[in-house]
């Protein structure tokens, strides 16, 4: 029996039929989009939806006659979608990071666009950001949230098809987004580039995710909801709100990819950066804090340092982040008072953020010998440190006079990558190295030495990247504001570009190291599943609690 047979064999024939109907309806919607939009580039996306949903429909159809699942599925955790999610996350990681190295190299050597329209910087850059944030980060969040909510609730996911719908539907969104950029389809909103039809599809997927998560929590057999779930819930709820409000737009017609936002002028900018900054807050922070709060104590085998600190930082982060977006628009047409609010709330946000990082690091008290010996735990420790560094840097850069120097420079890019590489990617790798052997019931990872190699490649890559961008960003900022004694600007813009050249090369090299590390990680995870014997003595998860009679 191959993997697909086994996974589909978990579904009853009724569920298989229902899944087939979902695939059929989606495929028809794709066909309709393609037909209505046959004179527009959107036709390609209609075709993509048709092939994607049709492909899964075909898989189901050929296996519709498999025997019914045996035993009571309610007594076991539902791990198949998690395994698929981890696989997809790692595939997106390699794709997204490769695109990142490519666009970084283009900045040093512009000829690497090879004179193609699709391969210009403007089109490739969002494939990098969407690939790593939504492809890698999003799949990692969906997979780990499915794992954490089941284990900490002692309940199986509240659905057989919906976890698959969420995971695969989400990946269809990512594919539509990334392929759209290459075709020139974009809303021109940073981190929200995907067009209206992809956005509508994501709303359906995300609401399903929300309901699935809530229903699973409602099934829990633990009296309290664990902190990690607070963060995952915040991530799911707020991302839904952000996504819907920022993407309110009117398409030119049902057959056109292009749409126009309903927000006018500076309000559009404000809504966009309210979205953009809270995407950082609730996608790249809250969700990954959920990961940290589960896998770090599990790996360290230590209790969380302080429950009270968890409460303080959770509510601090969720409340203050909501106000901080306007710090992206300092010294613009946005009214001065909105900028002040964004700045001050960004600074008040610092303490709750550091409380999270501190809570994680203090949890390691009593386990520092493990941090020394175990690269997996060290990944998570380093992630907490980078989380602390980048949240401090974020509050600092949000202060208007500081922002006057840093805005529009590579310093911003360095800051984002201190967070994205140092925090988001490191906590994900640490969590995956903890999760993969457990999920596939293996004794250990295939090679502890390769985890070490991955760790040091990641650290070296991140440091090279971040230091290169700090240097180039500050040099840029200073060059742009240097005046001669005659009161004239000392440098032209192109002078500052020439000064960036060595840093752009260093940045591409740092990114390359990080990419190589991710590829090593993929190999190690693959070999763990392929070649490591099944665990015999590992302490098992606590079982799913028995359902209360009458339910």
């Amino acid at each position: 029996m191959n993997v697909t047979d086994r996974m589909i064999g978990q579904l009853t024939s009724g569920e298989r039929e229902a899944a087939l109907v979902i695939c059929g309806v989606t495929a028809l919607a794709g066909a309709a989009l393609g037909l209505v939009g046959r004179h527009d580039v959107v036709a390609w996306h209609g075709l993509l939806i048709l092939l994607f949903a049709g492909g899964f429909g075909f898989l189901l159809m050929t296996r519709i006659g498999l025997p019914e699942p045996t035993g009571d599925r309610g007594t076991s955790y539902y791990d198949d979608p998690i395994k698929a999610g981890i696989t997809l996350a790692m595939a997106w990681a390699v794709f997204g990071m490769f695109m990142g190295v490519w666009v970084a190299a283009q900045l040093a050597w512009p000829d690497l666009a090879f004179d193609g329209g699709w391969s210009t910087f403007g089109r490739l850059r969002p494939t990098h950001t969407t690939g790593v944030i939504f492809g890698f980060g999003g799949n990692a969040l969906i997979a780990t949230s499915f794992h954490v909510v089941q284990r900490t609730s002692r309940a199986r996911l509240a659905g057989q098809i919906s976890p698959w719908f969420v995971l695969l539907g989400y990946n269809l969104f990512c594919l539509l987004a990334v392929s759209g950029y290459l075709l020139g389809v974009t809303q021109s909103k940073e981190y929200a580039e995907a067009e209206w039809y992809a956005d509508l599809w994501l709303v359906i997927v995300w609401v399903t995710y929300f309901i699935l998560y809530l229903r699973t929590l409602a099934r829990r057999r633990e009296p309290h909801i664990y902190v990690a779930n607070w963060y995952f819930m915040a991530f799911i709820v707020v991302v839904a709100i952000l996504h819907i409000v920022n993407n309110l737009a009117l398409p030119v017609s049902w057959g056109h990819a292009k749409s126009y936002t309903i927000w006018p002028g500076v309000q559009d900018a404000m809504v966009q950066w309210w979205y953009g900054h809270n995407a950082v807050a609730f996608f790249l922070t809250a969700g990954f804090l959920g990961m940290l709060y589960y896998y770090l104590p599990v790996r360290a085998e230590r209790p969380i340092f302080s429950y009270r600190l968890s409460i303080l930082s959770f509510w601090g982060i969720t409340f203050f982040y909501m106000w901080a977006g306007s710090h992206h628009l300092h010294y613009t047409a946005l009214p001065h008072w909105v900028q002040t609010l964004g700045m001050t709330f960004s600074v008040m946000l610092l303490v709750p953020s550091w409380a999270s990082a501190g809570n994680a690091l203090l949890t390691l008290n009593g386990a520092w010998h493990r941090v020394r010996d175990d690269a997996t735990l060290r990944f998570m420790m380093a992630a907490a440190v980078f989380y602390g560094i980048s949240t401090f840097e974020g509050s600092f850069l949000a202060i208007r006079p500081v922002n006057a120097l840093s805005h529009y420079t590579d310093w911003t890019v360095g800051h984002v990558h201190a967070g994205a590489l140092g925090w988001v990617a490191l906590i994900t790798f640490g969590s995956f190295y903890t999760l993969v052997p457990r999920l596939w019931k293996r004794e250990r990872m295939y090679s502890a030495a390769l985890v070490e190699v991955h760790f040091w490649l990641s650290i070296a890559g991140t440091l090279i990247y971040v230091f290169a961008m700090w240097n180039s960003g500050i040099i840029q900022g200073l060059m742009w504001r240097t005046y001669t004694e005659d009161g004239a600007l000392a440098y032209s813009f192109v002078d500052s570009l020439v000064a960036m050249y060595p840093y752009y090369i260093a940045r591409a090299f740092g990114g390359l190291l990080f990419l190589i590390g991710a590829i090593v990680g993929c190999y190690n995870m693959w070999m763990t599943v392929r070649a490591v014997p099944e665990a015999t003595r590992r302490a098992a998860d606590e079982p799913v609690a028995a359902a209360v009679p009458g339910e």
Partner: protein, 293 residues
């Protein structure tokens, strides 16, 4: 069901909750966190009192400092202009020859002009102003419209084939595409033009073509490029006898120029730059040409 334990490492009690083996300690929030929290809040509240911050209905709190970003920008623009005034006023008011004779002022012009050139001109003419195919070299002594500061200023203000109503117009007709010359005539005239800057090209084999090309030139080209092919700066017609070329001086490019015509474009900068900036750039570009003969 809730069992509180004491953690041997920290000596703290757990909360008694447990999730799949994860426990949490009941450690109070450290005093440092609370102090730091208060400090950041005081900092924020201080800003709210000092600068515009909270909306009230259709207006907002103005802050005791009375700062507003619009007035700050206006003030800094005025201040910047005042700092530059000692030399910009002279650049605008004084004749070019006076400025060129003033070494100290020219030093300032070179520095400020370099930045203006880098931000506005380098995209086409190159960072070192040496041009590339289709964009003239500004560092030599060969000028399409004249290399004196006054004529450069005219070119900057009006542009070439630009949107300005008095734009300089320079059009090399498409003699081949528009069927004004036969194919052989084009090849002949190209051979003649090529021979002007390459005397060695005239051999027994080519002498006939060059001769008939000379006739074509006299009939169709001399009106703009002059009888001797040395160009006319008043109408922007280039000198064809030297080794400086806008589009390229090889035979193939000359044929392409004659066949398809040429219509270079230089934007007008009249509305986009101040008088001081235009005159600084005129001096800067003139000075570039002076540096390399």
């Amino acid at each position: 069901m809730e069992v509180k334990e004491r953690d041997p490492v920290t000596g703290r009690q757990t909360t008694g909750h447990e999730w799949n083996g994860i426990k949490e300690l009941d450690t109070p929030v450290p005093r440092g966190v609370l102090i730091f929290l208060i400090v950041t809040h005081i900092w924020a509240i201080a800003w709210w009192f000092l600068v515009p911050s909270w909306p009230i209905g259709t207006t907002y709190t103005k802050g005791f400092l009375g700062v507003d970003q619009h007035t700050t920008v206006e003030q800094s623009i005025v201040q910047g202009q005042a700092e530059r005034a000692p030399w910009t006023e002279r650049v605008v008011a004084e004749p070019y020859e006076t400025i060129l004779a003033d070494t100290a002022l020219m030093q300032t012009v070179r520095s400020a002009g370099g930045q203006l050139f880098g931000d506005n001109c380098a995209a086409c003419h190159g960072r070192d102003a040496s041009g590339r195919a289709g964009y003239p070299d500004l560092t030599d002594d060969d000028w399409l419209w004249g290399g004196e500061p006054e004529t450069i200023e005219q070119t900057l203000r009006l542009g070439i084939n630009a949107a300005h109503p008095d734009s300089r117009i320079a059009q090399m007709p498409a003699f081949g595409r528009d069927q004004m010359l036969e194919r052989t005539q084009i090849h002949d005239v190209a051979a003649f033009v090529f021979s002007l800057s390459n005397p060695d090209y005239s051999t027994e084999e080519t002498v006939d073509r060059i001769a008939s090309g000379r006739e074509v030139f006299a009939a169709s080209c001399a009106a703009c490029h002059g009888d001797a092919g040395e160009g006319i700066a008043d109408i922007g017609a280039p000198n064809l006898t030297d080794d400086r070329w806008v589009y390229g001086g090889d035979m193939e490019t000359i044929i392409a120029s004659v066949h398809g015509g040429r219509q270079g474009h230089m934007p007008t900068w009249d509305e986009r730059m101040t008088d001081a900036e235009i005159r600084t750039l005129s001096l800067y570009v003139h000075d570039l040409g002076m540096r390399r003969p």
